[in-house]
């Protein structure tokens, strides 16, 4: 125990003495976060209107069909609960609520709900819907009462920024976990540091546990700092103000760190030198960067690639982080993600043990 602890302390000391390593582990994620977050990279898609169809009668269907025919509006019919989430993520710009007793003439109003920050888009929706109603009505009666009301809500949506930051934090966990360990261990291996340790009475478990422990702490610090930068610079909001969200974030940060550290240990254990380790590390991290939903929802990917992407080690971490930070979802409600991470930990641990070589 004391041995693992002194190795952990020494590793921490060396890490922070190599001041550039900590700087770079924060620099790239922050640049990505700020660059993409401010630019609003995700917001250049067609405006999205959510529709809650409470009536589900011929009148409501006629109305929805007419709105959906407009090419510049993407519509989605769903429940209040789902839309609350999507509004928060910035994936839906406004929600049109059709009450259950809606028909042409009874004067029941439909409501367009939107948040302050989406006002401009919402006004264009309003115009479109009004013109659609007018056309439908002129075919039926000549009731001229205003049927559409609007409701402005307080801002809760964080737009793309709120979606992006947890993705970048997860990506940073993967990078620090895999690359940090790979480059340190490979250099220890090729310089003969590991050989020297092997000549002492300590076991390899002491050394590996010490390494893991120190890196876990370093990555946890990194996760917290990145979220704090997200809050201060991009004005995102964590778990809708719930303190518990931070606990959930830390749980996922730890699980993700353990997973990627083990992958890093497995790569460095199996590779004789950096000529092997660097391409293997890149081969593993690169696809996950784009298929695990870090920068965009992987719904846009072709079906099979999406299925593969969803099961890569980074995906459950991204989902877990995003759920925790955006909605404050409790980790207990994210057991499939936790399970998938643990499954990957076990698989990679076994591969690592089977392939580890000291030199």
């Amino acid at each position: 125990m004391k041995i693992a602890l002194i190795i952990a302390l020494a590793t921490m000391k060396m890490y922070f003495r190599r001041s550039q390593s900590f700087f770079w582990s924060l620099f790239f994620p922050v640049v990505l976060m700020i660059g993409l977050g401010f630019y609003g990279f995700g917001e250049f898609s067609p405006s999205k209107l959510g529709i809650i169809d409470g009536a589900e009668n011929q009148y409501s269907k006629e109305l929805i069909k007419a709105i959906s025919e407009k090419k510049y509006i993407k519509t989605e019919i769903n429940t209040r609960e789902i839309f609350d989430k999507k509004v928060l993520e910035g994936k839906i710009d406004s929600v049109l609520v059709i009450p259950d007793n809606y028909n042409h003439n009874n004067g029941v109003k439909i409501t367009l709900e939107f948040e302050e920050s989406k006002e401009i888009i919402a006004y264009s929706f309003e115009d479109t819907i009004n013109s659609v109603i007018k056309i439908i009505d002129s075919e039926n009666t000549d009731n001229d009462t205003q049927k559409l009301s609007t409701k402005i809500k307080n801002n809760s949506n964080q737009g793309y920024k709120g979606f992006l930051v947890p993705g970048i934090v997860s990506l940073a966990i993967m990078q620090s976990g895999i690359l940090g360990v790979v480059f340190t261990l490979i250099s220890y291996k090729s310089q003969g540091v590991l050989r020297r340790l092997q000549a002492t009475p300590i076991s390899s478990a002491h050394f590996l546990i010490g390494q893991l422990a120190s890196r876990l702490l370093i990555i946890t610090i990194q996760t917290v700092l990145l979220f704090i930068i997200g809050i201060l610079v991009l004005n995102i909001n964590i778990g809708q103000g719930s303190i518990l969200a931070w606990v959930n974030i830390l749980i996922f940060s730890l699980l993700g760190s353990v997973l990627f550290l083990i992958i890093g240990l497995a790569i460095s254990g199996a590779s004789p030198n950096e000529d092997y380790a660097a391409p293997i590390a890149n081969l593993i991290t690169f696809p996950m960067m784009f298929l695990s939903g870090v920068f965009f929802e992987n719904d846009v990917l072709p079906y099979w690639i999406k299925i593969i992407g969803q099961n890569l080690p980074l995906s459950p971490l991204v989902t877990g982080m995003r759920e925790s930070s955006l909605y404050g979802t409790n980790t207990l409600d994210l057991l499939p993600e936790v399970g998938l991470i643990i499954l990957w930990i076990i698989v990679c641990f076994i591969i690592g043990i089977k392939t580890f070589k000291w030199e």
Binding site: I7, M14, Q191, G192, P201
Partner: protein
């Protein structure tokens, strides 16, 4: 000097797929001796030493150090030996004091890192990192670390390779000092004058086999008695003496 046997090696064999690195060698080392393993590169010196150090396992045969079977009780053996490896390094961003303290924990011994470093003349480098040290300083640190657990047997694998003449003489003095404390030293080298200067007995190894074991003096006499005559008349000084006479014996930074 009649003292007890501290290392015994019997029929030690190390085979790699289609290559025999060490071919059933036998030898023993007495307590307090400096025992040299000599041989050209690739002769099997380092493999033999690494089996004794518990870093490699033999294919067959036995190695016993101070009554402990190395392959069966590796951890116990590692606790009583000190090791300076040929190609090894220490953590680069730790100070020398931190490195020595850390290895003290590995051996569960209480030590005074500074006095250990003073012993190998690294008193000016307590707070330096490992990386910028010169070759000779790195070797001396390596020996300091090897002495942390007050070992019964010290393994030195080519301790002077790559050192300048000053650093080499200094290392010889250090090795003699360590021997005078009663420690047994196994030294591998391919410098013959080094073996002649330091070793009580040497084993000459080639292609994995021991071809001769004796004191350096006996080996030389044996050769001369067989009618051998050196090509040159031996002078009372050699070029290294000239070099040291001109540049002085003080240690240099690099």
């Amino acid at each position: 000097m009649t003292s007890r046997e501290i290392i015994r090696v019997e029929k030690l064999l190390k085979k790699y797929e289609d290559f025999i690195a060490v071919n059933e060698i036998d030898f023993s080392v007495n307590e307090g001796e400096i025992f040299g393993l000599l041989g050209p590169n690739g002769a099997g010196k380092t493999t033999t030493v690494e089996i004794l150090e518990g870093i490699r396992t033999q294919t067959s045969g036995e190695a016993i150090i101070d009554g402990i079977n190395v392959s069966k009780d590796t951890k116990k053996v590692k606790q009583i030996i000190g090791v300076q490896l040929q190609q090894a390094a220490f953590f680069d961003k730790l100070t020398l004091v931190e490195i020595v303290d850390m290895f003290g924990v590995f051996y569960s011994v209480k030590i005074d890192a500074k006095s250990i470093l003073e012993k190998v003349e690294l008193q000016d480098k307590f707070g330096s990192f490992y990386k910028p040290l010169s070759g000779g300083q790195k070797q001396r640190l390596s020996i300091a670390v090897a002495l942390i657990n007050d070992p019964k047997v010290l393994f030195l694998d080519e301790p002077t390779t790559g050192l300048d003449p000053q650093a080499r003489r200094n290392m010889w003095k250090l090795i003699k000092d360590i021997r005078s404390e009663g420690k047994t030293i196994i030294l591998t080298t391919h410098y013959m004058e080094e073996a002649e200067e330091l070793c009580d007995r040497v084993a000459i190894i080639d292609t994995g086999k021991i071809i001769s074991i004796d004191t350096p003096n006996n080996l030389i006499l044996e050769l001369l008695n067989s009618g051998f005559k050196g090509e040159h008349k031996i002078k009372d000084a050699n070029l290294e003496d000239v070099f040291l006479n001109l540049t002085g014996k003080n240690l240099r930074e690099d």
